[in-house]
Point group: C2
Chain length 254, copies 2
């Protein structure tokens, strides 16, 4: 049984929004996706996103309530996932049972953005900086950005990957909390799977690391579960087709 | 009326832990503070923090329940504040009234770490990198780190400060949510007041910006409220004395 409320997801390609789309699909909610493409050079979101929210960020979720309450606009992935699970998952299909397990899930809803993603984004931005450096300075920029990454971020990156691998090993169920797919896995799908395990070239460039799959077998098995989740495959195929079509239209307009 | 439960806060100097101490004091809870000092050169937390939590982070809050339930260890500021307010503020002295306002407060509990702090920390780490660069490379390192900061972080920094100023202006009460001091102000005290408004030299170095107080009058007035809050002054004086004493002991041991 699904709610009569309607949802609009403001979705940016290759962004944190994909996991929110996944949750809307898992909960069988009545949603529309409003698709935005990144600027091909700056990699930023487009100016139109600022009409949706003053920080121009994605995901933004808008809820139109069937009972006539005014629309609600939500930002921040952790809050969006928390709100959707609290209000649209009465059978707790994607929430664990028991107070301690609920707190653990809520912890990951904060940790994924508050700790993990902050490290990964910084590593990524520092390592792409060398590409935008003036030509003559690129080797130097590479040395320097690698220095900043090695000096701080890479240390934190390894620490966190070992921690996450250990958390999965200790759980022993293949999931982060409660032995099933929950909001914890949904929010972690972006930093762990999309940013890292599905981004070999990026990881090689930032962290000089290959074969994450061998080094972290529990995380690797978890990533396979994400990738092969039927709802996840469905939205990924759907959005890939949609984005390809939008790029093709853009090219035709030139 | 306060709870019989006992709390241990693992507190690192100049860290996100200070606001948790502030909330424990505001809620008149029965707490102990376990104090850790940063490494004087690397600015990291000490190895002992890793005995508390595998990521070596602060704040960590441990709760010893009076009713015999096993201890609970909480990490991530947003989760800690959320948990304390839900369980130890029955009169909602520091939570707003009404569902929409509660969601707005919860938003800031995610935003402060998930968006704002990530930008500020990156700016800071990039700008300190030039100090640890080999001597002959410092000017270059400075140019380069300023390039990365200008290319991405400074843009996001200005965007977020304007946004926060605008949020306060729109509220018109001097607080972020609900016309009184809430968890939103408590979590934002670290990024806005400690990192920026109380850190003129750091802001000058990272963002080449002076006079935040003139540029953002609403944020400035809010910062004054934080600084002059009696509980905030009390814990700040208390911890300053404690940290001074610990440094003095360290020096004597050498």
């Amino acid at each position: 049984m699904s709610s009569q409320d309607k949802f609009i997801l403001y979705w940016l390609d290759e962004s944190r929004a994909h996991r929110i789309l996944w949750l809307l699909e898992l909960l069988e909610l009545d949603y529309d996706v409003d698709v935005y493409l990144r600027h091909e050079e700056t990699w930023r979101g487009p100016p139109e996103l600022f009409h949706v929210h003053p920080l121009g960020k994605s995901p933004i979720l808008e809820i139109k309530f069937a009972d006539g309450r005014p629309n609600l606009q939500l930002a921040e992935s952790g809050l969006i996932i928390s709100y959707l699970l609290k209000n649209y998952d009465p059978q707790r299909r994607f929430s664990p049972k028991g107070e301690r397990e609920q707190i653990k899930m809520d912890y990951y809803l904060h940790y994924a953005e508050g700790t993990l993603e902050a490290i990964l984004m910084s590593m990524l931005i520092n390592s792409t900086a060398k590409r935008v450096a003036p030509l003559g300075m690129r080797t130097l920029a590479k040395v320097y950005s690698r220095g900043v990454n090695n000096g701080y971020y890479i240390h934190e990156y390894h620490l966190n990957l070992r921690y996450l691998e250990q958390q999965l090993r200790a759980e022993g169920t293949g999931y982060f909390v409660g032995g099933k797919l929950t909001g914890a896995d949904i929010i972690l799908s972006f930093p762990i799977y999309e940013n890292l395990f599905d981004n070999e070239a990026g990881v090689k460039e930032c962290a000089d690391e290959t074969d994450l799959y061998k080094k972290y077998p529990n995380l690797a098995a978890w990533c396979d579960k994400i990738k092969n989740n039927p709802a996840y495959s469905r939205i990924t195929d759907m959005m890939r087709a949609k984005v390809d079509e939008m790029y093709a239209m853009k090219r035709r307009r030139r």
